[in-house]
């Protein structure tokens, strides 16, 4: 027989390192004489898209096209320390360092532009700087960069962002351990084969508080990837040990989900801005995978009326629980 169930998993997650552990990032921005822009940061983009986010922040602040910016990242010879890519901290911490550096640069350029245009209500956009009240007072970003270089203003800005928090009270463990928290809830719908114990996840629906989704498609990608990881964690991924020896030393025996195992994932991005992140943004990387396992296990409990307490919830473990439950039911007197 096949039984279906629905489960909910919810989480909150402290962004960055918290508990007074050092949590810093830096970024450098340089506007060259020809108007081209170079960004340097030690942040490692290993596929999650942090180069994209840092580049978007720079483009947004200076009103220049995304593809006019040269990104130099993760090179210890040329880039300033931004801390590790972990703890869902990159957009939140390094993004803020990037925003600070870009705003410092914008201020320098604004000073030069005010001198040239004779106006103070200036907007940066479309590779131009112009007055809001007198739109005819306008200068191209390129010309402004050249003038700024000739005027001798600093055209390199580095920003440092530190979110290191206070530790909690050592006696009571009370306090504010993190500078911000992320929130996410997921729903899982599963179908359990009660004869073989196999679980098929039919659908995952996610709602994630991203603070502000700087790149919504990127956020969706992070959530879908996180769901796949959480699904493997719940159902198939296992490191088997025997007498302290690894019985599964090859990735071929480590069952991460394939594209056929991952169900449709519906993502709902919730935006509740946080004052300490760039444009209100929070991290979404780890929060994406945390609620998946609990949602799936709750869905299994909903389907079967038995609760899995050992991961992964592989078919033989589930079948054992189903059989135990059947035996219990038989013990009860009829009626």
């Amino acid at each position: 027989m096949k039984k279906r169930g629905v489960g909910v998993g919810s989480m909150f997650y402290g962004l960055g390192y918290g508990f007074s552990r050092q949590d810093i990032a830096s970024a450098t921005i340089e506007v060259c004489e020809d108007g081209s822009v170079i960004v340097r940061s030690g942040e490692v983009d290993f596929g999650q898209g942090s180069d994209t986010i840092l580049c978007q922040i720079t483009a947004e602040e200076l009103g220049i096209p995304y593809d006019s910016i040269q990104m130099l990242t993760a090179d210890t010879l040329t880039t300033p320390n931004a801390g590790p890519t972990s703890a869902s901290r990159v957009t939140y911490v390094t993004g803020m360092a990037m925003l600070k550096a870009a705003r410092a640069m914008k201020k320098n350029l604004q000073t030069v532009a005010e001198g040239i245009l004779g106006q103070t209500d200036l907007l940066f956009g479309d590779e131009k700087v112009y007055s809001l009240s007198h739109p005819e007072k306008i200068i191209s970003f390129k010309a402004l960069a050249k003038a700024a270089h000739l005027g001798g203003l600093p055209m390199v800005e580095t920003a440092w962002h530190d979110i290191t928090t206070q530790d909690v009270d050592p006696e009571t463990a009370q306090g504010d351990a993190y500078s911000a928290y992320a929130y996410a809830t997921q729903l899982a719908e599963v179908e359990v084969d009660t004869e073989t114990g196999e679980v098929q996840v039919l659908r995952i629906v996610t709602a994630t508080d991203a603070g502000k989704a700087i790149n919504p498609m990127n956020v969706e990608g992070q959530i879908e990837g996180g769901v796949a990881m959480g699904l493997g964690y719940a159902l198939t991924e296992e490191i088997a040990l025997e007498g302290g020896r690894l019985k599964t030393p090859f990735l071929g025996e480590y069952m991460i989900p394939t594209s056929l195992d991952v169900p449709p994932v519906e993502t709902h991005i919730v935006e509740v801005p946080v004052s300490t992140g760039p444009y209100g943004a929070k991290g979404v990387g780890e929060p994406a995978s945390i609620p998946t396992g609990p949602a799936i296990l709750n869905a299994i409990a909903d389907a079967l009326g038995v609760r899995v307490t050992e991961l992964p919830a592989k078919p033989e473990n589930l079948l054992r629980l189903i059989r135990e439950q059947e035996r219990e039911e038989k013990k009860l007197p009829p009626g």
């Binding site: 027989m1 198939t236 069952m255 078919p315």
Partner: protein
Amino acid sequence: MQQFQFFSVKSLSDALRFLAEKGDQTKVLAGGTDLIPALREEVSCPAFVLNILEIEGLNGVREANQALRIGSITTHAQLVESDILRRTCPSLLQAAASIGGPLIRNRGTIGGNIANASPAADLASTLLSLEAEAVLMSQKGTRVVALRDFFLGPGKTALHPDELLAEIAIPLPRGKGVFLKLGRRQAMSLSVVNVAVCLEMEGRRCREAKVALGSVAPTPIRCPGAESLLVNQEMDAELIGKCAEEAMAASIPVDDHRAKAWYRLQAGAILLRRALAQAAGLGDD
């Protein structure tokens, strides 16, 4: 990886000449999805590796004289795409489609899957249920060995060192075949247990039954005891249940990290019940 010499041959006669001289020190490469990892991990340390993938005559599915003849270097992907198989042996096509993923199916071959003699080989149980024969060639001549006599143990077969598995021959099945597999995920997974059946029905009466299991014994096995319960009987859920029990009683599964023996027995019985019901036209459950 230990050093070995690699030879490629373009003709069957060159291959047989090579094996006549060096067969006892040679591993045949018929795709490499099992051999290459074995060489890397030094589970296998041959002096010579003989590549037979360039022998055109060993490739493809043919239908002749009420039988299918499948060349040993025919890939799993070719089996999946074969119109002849779709028409005559859909269970073999299902089994081929369940192997690994697209990359492995493009590389692995039916001959490799059989000669590697894994207890979990997905094609083996289906071929057993179809009464397939292995056509073994050497310079001395051709031997035809029923597949049920071909597997001797994990990695052990009836192949002599000077012989090459050239073809798989399958008498055109008169009944309906079904293959079902339980893996640990939907692709890229070895069988925890697999079952293959072929039933020839006359109304609800079973005229002939072939039942085979994979991953529950040192070799893929046929279950004659279970088959004899079905022959000339009216098929119903009760009989199917008895047959599944009888088949699992004949198996000797092991505990390993993929699954425990008790689970293989239980899940195998369920898969077998479902496969028999499907093949008998009684619906899935």
